[in-house]
Symmetry: C2
Subunit: 589 residues, 2 copies
């Protein structure tokens, strides 16, 4: 009750928009329109997937409906059409959506901008639809609609419920002025009188309490019933029960990380990738990680927005999650980046042990940024696999070449942006991503082949930044080259040349800024000693922000313009991302 009284006040359980982790019972953080609906598609996906994997003919251990309420604004957003198209394609029969058709949005009547036939659109998307014409008081109609929706097992159902916004308020009902503003004391009085509600503010009559308290008993008995069923399940299906428990608890199977690939030379065992291993694109190295992880983590699953063969995200031992094969773990999101992100958030919050990854070209994080932000805000540990991470993707040109995306994600709270340079760092990035269950990770991966470098390491990635090579002593190099991902090779080669001129050069991989910032001052000082001001960064993206590490006296090589359509090598040369340029600028420091 205190929370209700502190509506939209600092620290209350009733913030302006629902937030999971703030309020018990709130399953997803919504507010930005369309997100909650797409989350619901993710929740229903998770139920269908887990049911297919764990239910037995005699024991339905995963069995629930997913309900979602959405409004006119949600319906206008593109993300909801993307998510609805997927829900229809997948035949998510246990997803029931209530569309609050109240004809009013913030700017007034929806007639000014929204005159489409929503039900016909949903039918075209493969949904069953029902219209409840009196949503204000037609409780039996709503109950009937739910029954009908449950009876339709192969399609999701949209129940359009026509309502009056502000129902009961004699002067403000059916107007936009009740959308976001309080009624005001006079209109509250008029509404109470109109609804014949004579109790004090915040008083819940005993009759209402009694009615709702039934649900406590009902819930407790349902839980007891399920626990009993699960005990039986554990006895009969021990192995499946162990797996399902890890999905429910989120506990990672012990030793899972030893599955991470350490070398491309499969014949000879080695502790890490070395320069002798054949060069490879980090997107390919990523694929090895994905496949390795899916083998040992039961809840690991995911897919791409129609770029599986470019992002290299197919799990080879599994088929596609489809309407009739929901036990499979490859998700075909289609070209629907925004819904992909929000559906993944829904899957992640369904069960702590479900770890969804989703993939597209790095530049298209722009299409799904709102969902990525909600992933960060709602602590959904989604793994965002973003390949083609720079102008190095080449011929597709500036519309496809990320320039500012890495920085713009580094600026976002509670998300890790990792840009690994080779095999060791790619495995290390996945280790970080899997361990961080309360914050999502962005993996920025190359299209182009990269050599494995001496000095990189799986475990060092967890520190965010570390020394790759150094010929200085006493923590006093003449020069520090700082780089990430595909440019670390360039930094290394330049350092090798500069050392021939007897310069003491350190090369630092700053694979994840957020993790580096979390290290102890002493460690950070051991990597980037403050008295060394000759610093040069090289990264194929904007230089803005690099001042943090290069300081006022350092210099940055980067890309502060849109890219160009050309083979990768040519663009790198054109924009000065070369060993020669690093050497030339280093000599001015």
């Amino acid at each position: 009750m205190d929370d209700l009284k502190a509506f939209r006040q600092l620290g209350s359980g009733t913030p302006g928009h629902p937030e999971n982790f703030e309020t018990p019972g709130v399953e997803v953080t919504t507010g930005p329109l369309g997100q909650g609906f797409a989350n619901a598609v993710g929740l229903a996906f998770a139920e269908k997937h887990l049911a297919a994997r764990f239910n037995k003919t005699d024991l339905n251990i995963v069995d629930h409906y997913t309900y979602v309420i959405l409004g006119d604004g949600c319906q206008m957003e593109g993300i909801s059409n993307e998510a609805a198209s997927l829900a229809g394609h997948w035949g998510l029969g246990k997803l029931i959506a209530f569309y609050d058709d109240n004809h009013i949005s913030i700017d007034g009547s929806t007639d000014i901008t929204f005159t489409e036939d929503v039900l016909a659109r949903y039918e075209a998307l493969g949904w069953h639809t029902i219209w409840v014409k009196n949503g204000n008081t037609g409780y039996d109609d709503i109950r009937d609609a739910i029954r009908e929706a449950k009876a339709v097992k192969k399609k999701p159902t949209l129940i359009k419920v026509t309502t009056t916004i502000g129902f009961g308020s004699p002067n403000k009902a059916n107007t936009y002025s009740v959308h976001g503003s309080a009624l005001g004391s006079k209109e509250v009085e008029a509404t109470r009188s109109n609804l014949q509600w004579h109790h004090e503010p915040f008083h819940v009559p005993d009759e209402v309490k009694r009615h709702w308290s039934h649900h406590v008993d009902e819930g407790a008995s349902l839980e007891a019933e399920w626990n009993k069923k699960f005990a039986e399940y554990e006895k009969k299906y021990h192995q499946e029960a162990v797996e399902l428990k890890t999905v429910i608890s989120g506990e990672l199977p012990s030793g899972w990380d030893s599955a991470l690939p350490v070398s491309t030379i499969s014949e000879s065992y080695c502790h890490m990738y070395t320069p002798e291993c054949p060069p490879d694109a980090t997107r390919n190295l990523s694929q090895k990680c994905l496949n390795a992880l899916a083998k040992v983590i039961p809840g690991f699953l995911g897919g791409s927005a129609d770029l599986a063969t470019s992002n290299m995200t197919l799990l080879k031992m599994f088929g596609d999650f489809q309407r009739d094969t929901p036990e499979q773990r490859n998700i075909r999101f289609g070209v629907r980046e925004h819904a992909m992100g929000a559906i993944s958030n829904g899957i992640a919050v369904h069960s702590p042990g479900l770890i969804p990854y989703c993939a597209t070209f790095f530049v298209f994080t722009d299409y799904m940024r709102a969902a990525i932000r909600l992933s960060a805000l709602s602590e959904s540990g989604v793994v965002f696999v973003m390949t083609h991470d720079s102008i190095g993707l080449g011929e597709d040109g500036p519309t496809h070449q990320p320039i500012e995306q890495l920085f713009s994600l580094r600026a976002m709270p509670n998300i890790l942006s990792l840009r690994p340079a080779d095999g060791n760092e790619t495995s290390g990035a996945y280790k970080v991503a899997i361990l961080n269950r309360k914050r999502p990770s962005i993996l920025a991966l190359s299209r182009q082949k990269l050599p494995h470098l001496n000095g990189t390491s799986i475990d060092a990635v967890a520190k965010g930044g570390y020394i790759i090579s150094d010929n200085s002593s006493g923590n006093k190099p003449d020069l520090i080259l700082i780089s990430t991902g595909s440019e670390l090779e360039i930094a290394e080669k330049a350092a090798a040349e500069l050392r021939k001129d007897h310069r003491a050069v350190r090369v630092v991989s700053l694979v994840c800024w957020e993790l580096f910032e979390e290290q102890a001052e002493e460690y950070k000082e051991s990597v980037l000693p403050s008295e060394v001001t000759s610093r040069l960064s090289i990264e194929a993206g904007v230089t803005l922000g690099w001042e943090k590490y290069i300081g006022q006296k350092g210099k940055a090589i980067g890309v502060d313009r849109f890219g160009a359509s050309a083979p990768a090598g040519k663009i790198y040369k054109e924009l000065g991302l070369t060993v020669e340029n690093v050497i030339a600028i280093a000599k001015t420091l």
Copy 2:
């Protein structure tokens, strides 16, 4: 022909995706899926609007169709559903879209993810639809479809054209392998033989040249005809012709900028807003600018994504652009931020003198980021009016409070991010936005009231950063406080206190980083002298990136976490954005 031979090579006119300004005849920059379709809705909108304003019963001076081709990928993207819903609502009868229904996307058959009934969906969105079943060779069917589409005057038309991808290639047709890869010499040979095409590579037979050269004459004669018609129009409708010419040429009417509001005290004339003028939110000050500009700039028009009364973006002297009132200039985009951005891009490139603005909450730039980026890349000078620009929006909470958005847009090439502090700076920001016709502007505006400050100025905004107040001499302040927007007031108040302790304090407004960077070194040094290292920034957003201006020895006050639902004042206090905190930290510098 050289350009064709240099396909996807540096500097050629045939980049990997079409780019305006790179290739003559390319009207919009597309590539990211769904954008081109939404651009087309903008182009058709512009035609309908200009036709309604300038056509006369006896003289149709604006009269063209808009054609667009879109594929399966475009159809899956949410943005295309948003744009199609608007096109249907607006009844854009001269918009004709060809949907290349080839059943193949990058990951293979569209059956794996895209099984909706597209035509039924478009019908639900208010479109006329036609299906051409043989799009490979059914030229007459396509011609018939266009004729039918033209005959339907009140609805846009979607022509679904079923085709075979890679038609003619005997072994690769109808597979995803012809989507993005070259056929290879063997398959090229087989295809040539199959199509009975026996010419050398890059040879255009005379017969083909002759056929196409008809279009040159046809085009020339259409142009001559239009010129003649326009000469007549100029005689008969002089005033309208003058206006239309500014729309076509993009030349701004002389003296347009004197319309910008300079004071809120309408009775007494003053050259600028002063502290005596009543405090106001910059979103309200923005509305005065919008209304003033619409009076003097014939091509100025725009709207909001269902937040007109929050963004304060209604043009009071105009009605709504609707199906039957297309001459009006308020655009009701609905909750469709992504399409709003891309439609605005289309309007902007239709005619240089059309200056569209579009609006939503600043945090929802995340929903439209891909369109904003294309605005920057394609030099569409759209004005993005983004209100509720910080945690200062208060109770709506973290999902609605931008934290990292400003910085993430500062990182984007070719776009100006402006965060004005008061009336003078808001007018100055609009002046910059209107003058920059080749790069878009983002205006970050406050929900909360702000005082007008001494020292701000309309013209100084064009320099990006300037001194607001200073009690130092010889360009050697003890301390520089750097701030933007709503926090400039805090900086000013803190400076006043610090000066009481005999400190020489300068306050700098860094209203637009991009413009400041473009100033001469001498000017920059006069504002931020490099020998003054005691610097403190205060801005209600991430501190990452501020190192650029505060240096290694400076400090930054900002917000490096998600916000919270509470009244603005409480959050500001909770997060240390207060005069007291500025003073306390300043004393450590």
